[in-house]
């Protein structure tokens, strides 16, 4: 019930907003089309301004993934992981999640297919993928759009959040499934 209600909201949200917001404008006496054009003018510059930031971040991550450093790290940490609740198979997914959206989706899909979509491992992989966003993409896009270069405590705070989300995901799945 709740799920279908949420799905309906997701489906209708965009068309309702696209009509509802200008409707509110008309009621308030706003020249909606003129104001829309004035705001929309910045769209191109913003998108283009992000390019250098995104190229820089994605290239570094692409090189890191291409080298096979991920497998090296997983193998090196295997003995340590076996003493924790984290299965060694999902460890690369936990590390890759903040670095690469497409990369972690490919990894999660592979785990789901290999262990089965209803298995504990498959569901853990799905939960891990869904439980956070790609940190370095967010960093490049949002700070890039306004030209902020010194990110201060952003990365450590987000990594703490990602680690907590990953540990909770593994624990909750092990407990529930």
């Amino acid at each position: 019930m709740i799920r279908s209600a949420l799905e309906a909201v997701s489906l209708w949200a965009i068309p309702v907003l696209l009509v509802g917001i200008p409707l509110a404008g008309i009621i308030r006496g706003v020249k909606v089309y003129d104001v829309f054009i004035e705001g929309a003018k910045d769209g191109f510059q913003v998108a283009v301004r992000i390019i250098p930031f995104l190229v820089g971040i994605l290239v570094a991550i692409g090189m890191f993934r291409g080298s096979g450093a991920m497998d090296l790290l997983t193998n090196a940490l295997r003995p340590v992981l076996s003493r924790t609740i984290i299965p060694a198979e999902v460890f690369p997914l936990i590390v890759l999640r903040p670095l690469s959206g497409s990369g972690s989706l490919a990894l999660a899909t592979d785990l789901i297919k290999r262990f089965g979509p209803d298995s504990l491992m498959g569901r853990t992989a799905a939960t891990l993928y869904g439980s956070s966003e790609t940190l370095f993409y967010v960093l490049a896009v949002y700070f890039g759009a306004i030209g902020v270069k010194r990110t201060r405590h952003m990365i450590p705070s987000a990594i703490v959040g990602d680690v907590v989300a990953a540990l909770v995901a593994v624990a909750v799945c092990a407990w529930l499934f």
Partner: protein
């Protein structure tokens, strides 16, 4: 920090490539990623233009300020120092709400608009303000009511109940968000603005 992480990722790649003999894959990774980055950016032009236009209408109609005032208790707690009727608050709420519904296409322009508004209040333009970091930690935590992408993958793989992971995802993402925002609030005094 980003300087060291950026250089570190590439340096590790080079060293590992020397041992693994994967120099070709590293080169390919660099070239493909550069192309993907530009495609992502250019792909944003259309939706960015659309939502920035709609956002301006919402602002002029007073809807953004209304949204900010409605959620004043939350915004006071998370973003002290930003007036609750400031357009930044409304844009941040729109971004979080769109992410929750899984409307990532709309969420990105709202988020960028929020960052632009926060930048106007920011005294040092090349340095992140406390409000920016709090907002982005909330954003990267990725609070989502229905993780549609991965449910799609589960369903395509023939899962009997692909939506079983909704509850586990919500619990872990909320714990992550709480931890991230709390850490940001604690750490902000150790990183001078």
């Amino acid at each position: 920090m980003l300087n060291y992480i950026w250089f570190g990722l590439m340096a590790i790649a080079l060293v590992v490539a020397a041992f693994n003999g994967t120099a070709g894959a590293v080169t390919q990774g660099a070239i493909d990623s550069a192309k993907t980055a530009v495609e992502i950016s250019l792909g944003l032009i259309g939706i960015m233009t659309l939502w920035l236009g709609i956002m301006r209408v919402a602002e002029k109609a007073g809807l953004i300020a209304l949204l900010g005032r409605a959620l004043r208790p939350v915004s006071r707690l998370l973003f002290p120092g930003i007036p609750s009727d400031h357009p930044a608050i409304g844009a941040m709420i729109m971004n979080v709400a769109a992410n929750m519904l899984g409307l990532s296409n709309a969420a990105t322009p709202f988020g960028i608009k929020a960052m632009e508004e926060l930048q106007e209040l920011n005294p040092k333009k090349d340095t992140a303000s406390n409000a920016m970091v709090t907002f982005l930690t909330l954003n990267t935590a990725g609070i989502q009511l229905i993780p549609a992408t991965i449910i799609g993958v589960l369903a395509a793989a023939g899962a009997k109940s692909p939506t079983a992971i909704i509850s586990t995802t919500i619990v872990s993402t909320l714990c992550g968000a709480l931890a991230a925002v709390t850490t940001a609030k604690i750490l902000q005094r150790f990183f001078p603005e």
